[in-house]
């Protein structure tokens, strides 16, 4: 049995006040997530990722179709076993981070001692600076709120967590920390269903991905399989502090030197050799991939 089963889910939004029009947010979406995996849910802006999660959390009701979580119909499943991080989370701004988490724990019926302990454990787990634990959330930055959001999604030690863009708003260090946190969830046997645009995060974390396009499932499978289907070239971006580089590459000037777009990884050597001759310095080398969703635009 899959831990999440989505079956022919369709969601129409009605927009307009006088003359109502329908916008299809989800179009007969079906997919399944297996126990213990980190499942990546990708798609361009407006593809329907958030809509899917909101339907699963019963924040909005589907036009048709069904979904099951943990083997139960979504309107019967116990929310005690589920965690959810909304997109761009916003919480009661008059509460401090600690108070908010204790409140969430209270809604799960946890006894007072456990509430206090769990709130502290999670705040340190999401690496929120201890000095800010007793600061009202209205004074929090986006990244700090995101961390609080993650903490509240895990306060009940859920079996499955739904994360809507968990990395958004985080600085590079924060992203790595959250990445490690998500990986540790898998180690403790949890299932993670995450939406994201950031390919590098998906790549490191996800066992399988689904790609959504205009509310429809476009592709689903292991990331490597999907990539092989693409036969993508390995574009590499090299940034150096020199301007005279081999003419054969696509070059753009940057304030401190140039940015070179090399067609393959082997070209990196060519550039580096040339660079050494003129005593230039290497700034960065990184694979230049289009985002996955872009890759799948036909």
């Amino acid at each position: 049995m899959s831990i999440v089963e989505i079956d022919q889910l369709t969601k129409d939004y009605e927009i307009g006040f006088w003359r109502k029009r329908k916008v299809r947010g989800l179009d007969a979406l079906s997919l399944a997530v297996e126990q213990g995996e980190i499942f990546g849910f990708l798609g361009a802006n407006g593809a329907g990722k958030t809509t899917t999660l909101k339907v699963l959390m019963r924040l909005t009701f589907p036009t048709s179709g069904k979904a099951r979580i943990l083997g139960e119909d979504i309107d019967k499943v116990s929310m005690h076993r589920i965690g959810y991080l909304p997109e761009n989370p916003y919480f009661y701004d008059y509460l401090t981070a600690r108070e908010f988490l204790e409140y969430c724990a209270e809604l799960f019926g946890q006894p007072k001692q456990a509430r206090k302990r769990n709130a502290e454990d999670l705040l340190s787990r999401v690496r929120l600076d201890e000095k800010r634990w007793d600061t009202q959330l209205r004074k929090f930055s986006k990244g700090m709120l995101q961390r609080v959001g993650l903490a509240q999604a895990l306060i009940n030690d859920p079996e499955i967590v739904f994360l809507d863009e968990p990395m958004s708003g985080l600085d590079p260090v924060g992203r790595r920390e959250v990445r490690d946190l998500i990986a540790s969830l898998r180690e403790s046997g949890k299932t993670v269903f995450m939406c994201s645009h950031i390919l590098s995060d998906i790549e490191v974390l996800c066992d399988r991905v689904a790609i959504l396009k205009k509310g429809k499932l476009a592709h689903m499978g292991r990331l490597n399989d999907l990539r092989q289907q693409q036969n993508q070239e390995n574009l590499v971006e090299i940034i150096v502090t020199q301007t005279d580089v081999p003419e054969t590459f696509v070059v753009t000037e940057t304030p401190g030197g140039v940015r070179i777009q090399a067609p393959g990884e082997s070209d990196v050597d060519v550039v580096l050799t040339a660079l050494r001759k003129v005593n230039g310095k290497l700034v960065s080398v990184q694979p230049l991939r289009q985002s996955l969703e872009e890759l799948f635009v036909d």
Binding site: Y84, Y92, Y94, L107, F108, G109, D121, Q136, D157
Partner: protein, 277 residues
Amino acid sequence: MTDPSAPVQEQTLSGSPAVWRRVVAIARNAFLEAVRDRVLYNLVLFVLLLIAGAIFLGELSDGQERKIIVDLGLSTMLLFGVFISIFVGVGLVYKEIERRTVYAIFSKPVSRGEFLVGKYLGLCLTLLVNVVVMGAGVSLALLYARRGGDSLALTIWPAIFLIYLELMILTGVALLFSSFSSPALSALLTFLVFIIGHFSTDLKNLASTMESVVGRGLFNALYYLLPNLNNYSYITPAAHGQVPLGSNVLLAILYAAVYIAITIAAATLVLGRRNFK
């Protein structure tokens, strides 16, 4: 990380005590919100008004000032209370939907009904603190005016209780409106209900004088639909030292309980079907 024994405990709590714990938690949070958003600061204003009034009344002739203290004190209490019920009440649900704070709440084991009841009770608690402090202020002002004991300081409390019941009804109405319409419209509608509710008996009389069946039906419907707030205004008799009949107070309690139950049930029905944006 989390307490491994917690899930087991939760399951044993799956009966009604767990529901009430959540409701209490939500109510406490709503009260905290009102306090931190400085809703209770209106009390400072009230006390200042009271002091100013006392100084001014000191100049006045004897005998009348006690009556005026009660009249003005309780009317101001009602007015401030109505403002809080309406302006906090209409934002109670709307604000949470608008700011999307409900996402994190309804994805936890909290039903929409529990949420509404909790929010409602939280605001009622705020109003209670407000009314009690103001009532104490009026009582103290009476004792001060008499430079000693005054029976009015005690006999006004049944009237204060009725004011509180009225505010509870009004909060229910505000909550109902706010579960489907914008704060501005909800505030306007709730205010209309407050005004018309005080002319409830006139509505019924008006209906009986109507010629057309439609008109009579309409006014009768309004009479039964809108809360009858006449039963809760006892300010003027209280100023004259009168106390309401026990049976009338009991009736007022029953009426309020039924009316509030209906408004919250209706609000739950509306909110339960809502798609959050």
